[in-house]
């Protein structure tokens, strides 16, 4: 039944050949409960900070479709149902149940030819004030009997959105363009060790600020958020994964450094420890640390009438963030239950908190199956 359902879904989004087969599918439901305050929000005292409370339900779907020996297609669909969503924050003060919906479809079609994989990626995103399309490609070359792989990818994203000002008025349509390029390498170091490294560059142009965000003004009142023009982002990342056969454990450590021309830099470190409890059940504990300096035009009160970049968005402030997570995965393909063979079931919980008053609890349940 799952196979038929998955294939029917795939055919809606992809006109593949009659030989196409669904190789794997995954369904995931995630629920987020966010609480906190930020000076960009007007859901509070006039000078802020206002509430950033939101409830988010996020169903996600994933299909891997094999069209032929060489061609595969990955289709990911994400839906967000958000209460007190950003565009509705203007009326969130009086309409606490305001809801926004968003959906994304992301398709990657890959041609696997020996040691080289060529892929194209395309899709779109839609939500209340914004429409977005993206397209790109990637090439991966495997060397040394697949011990080493190098990958180069690029993606262009075009956002079109209604200019909704901080009073809720619509002032026409605006756009934002994003170009992204990435280089990554992966190397097997031993029968139990793998390392990865990557560099990514992103250029953004167009209207970058959130048009309905506002900043508190000295002496009362609020002004518009203004960004500093084109944004150039750089991210360097490295990761090592080590398996320990004696204890049936795996340890993954990663580090990421980020810097951009808004004078924001960030260090992110994450550790994940996997431990098999039995052959078909493992638990994963994780901790993530993130520190960022904040953009150089962040503030919580600005002089009125200044024609300069200014934002009070708490996401762009200096802060430290922590995240702890726990995940339990049942690998049914190894389990004693015949009916669940080739499937997996997963439950995870994360607690994320920032030092500038934001907390998120996140619960997710997932079911997947290979065919």
């Amino acid at each position: 039944m799952w196979r038929r359902l998955a294939l029917a879904g795939a055919l809606i989004t992809l006109s593949s050949s009659a030989r196409a087969q669904v190789e794997e599918m995954e369904m995931r439901g995630a629920f987020f409960d966010q609480n906190g305050h930020g000076y960009q929000s007007v859901a509070g005292p006039p000078q802020g900070p206002g509430s950033e409370h939101a409830l988010i339900f996020e169903p996600l779907f994933h299909l891997l479709i094999k069209q032929s020996e060489a061609w595969t297609h990955v289709v990911d669909v994400t839906v967000d149902i958000v209460s007190n969503a950003s565009i509705d924050a203007i009326d969130a003060v009086s309409t606490a149940s305001a809801v926004n919906e968003a959906a994304t479809i992301d398709v990657t079609s890959a041609h696997n030819g020996g040691d080289t994989t060529l892929a194209i990626r395309y899709g779109g995103h839609i939500e209340e004030p914004l429409r977005s399309v993206f397209a790109g490609g990637a090439v991966t070359q495997r060397l040394a009997d697949d011990n080493f792989a190098i990958s180069l990818s690029g993606l262009a994203t075009f956002d079109f959105f209604d200019h909704v000002d901080r009073h809720g008025s619509q002032l026409g349509e605006e756009g934002r363009q994003t170009l992204n390029a990435n280089l990554s390498v992966s190397q097997i170091l031993s029968p139990t060790t793998v390392v990865d490294a990557s560099y990514g560059f992103t250029l953004q142009a167009g209207t970058l600020q959130t048009t309905y965000n506002s900043v508190p003004l000295v002496g009362g009142g609020r002004g518009d958020e203004v960004f500093a023009g084109r944004r150039f982002r750089h991210a360097f990342a490295g990761r090592i994964a080590q398996h320990v056969p004696d204890t049936r454990s795996t340890l993954k450590l990663s580090y990421r450094y980020y810097v951009d021309n808004y004078d924001l830099s960030a260090h992110t470190v994450e550790g994940q420890l996997y431990q098999y409890l039995v052959d078909w059940l493992y638990v994963r504990g994780s901790y993530r640390y993130h520190w960022q300096s904040g953009v150089d035009f962040y503030g919580t009160a600005f002089e009125p009438g200044l024609l300069q970049p200014e934002t009070s968005d708490s996401d762009l402030a200096p802060f430290t963030a922590h995240e702890v997570g726990l995940k339990l995965v049942l690998l049914a393909e190894r389990s004693p239950w015949e009916g669940l063979k080739r499937s997996f079931i997963e439950a995870s919980f994360y607690h994320y908190w920032r030092t500038n008053d934001l907390q998120v609890n996140w619960l997710a349940l997932a079911f997947g199956r290979k065919f």
């Binding site: 994933h62 040394a144 029968p191 990514g200 991210a235 360097f236 398996h243 960022q292 994360y350």
Partner: protein, 74 residues
């Protein structure tokens, strides 16, 4: 600081690319374990990335650009 990081990344990449003995395919049993994959689940990665990108100012790179959807102006 950025120069030091660039140098570190390049060093790791160079060592990774040149300094290792080849592990034959019949000795990759542990590397094929589900816990050793680059991603546990593409959907989990997507959901976590969105959580972080829409609440932190350091999106972009890592194979995924900033932009598109909520949190895009971060």
């Amino acid at each position: 600081m950025p120069k030091a990081l660039v140098a570190t990344v390049l060093l790791v990449a160079t060592v990774a690319a040149t300094g290792c003995a080849i592990v034959p395919k019949n000795r990759r049993m542990y590397l094929a374990d589900p816990t050793m994959q680059a991603s546990d689940s593409p959907l989990e990665d997507r959901a976590r990335r969105k959580l972080h990108n829409s609440r932190e100012g350091a999106a972009g790179g890592d194979g995924e650009p900033a932009g598109g959807g909520c949190g895009c102006s971060n």
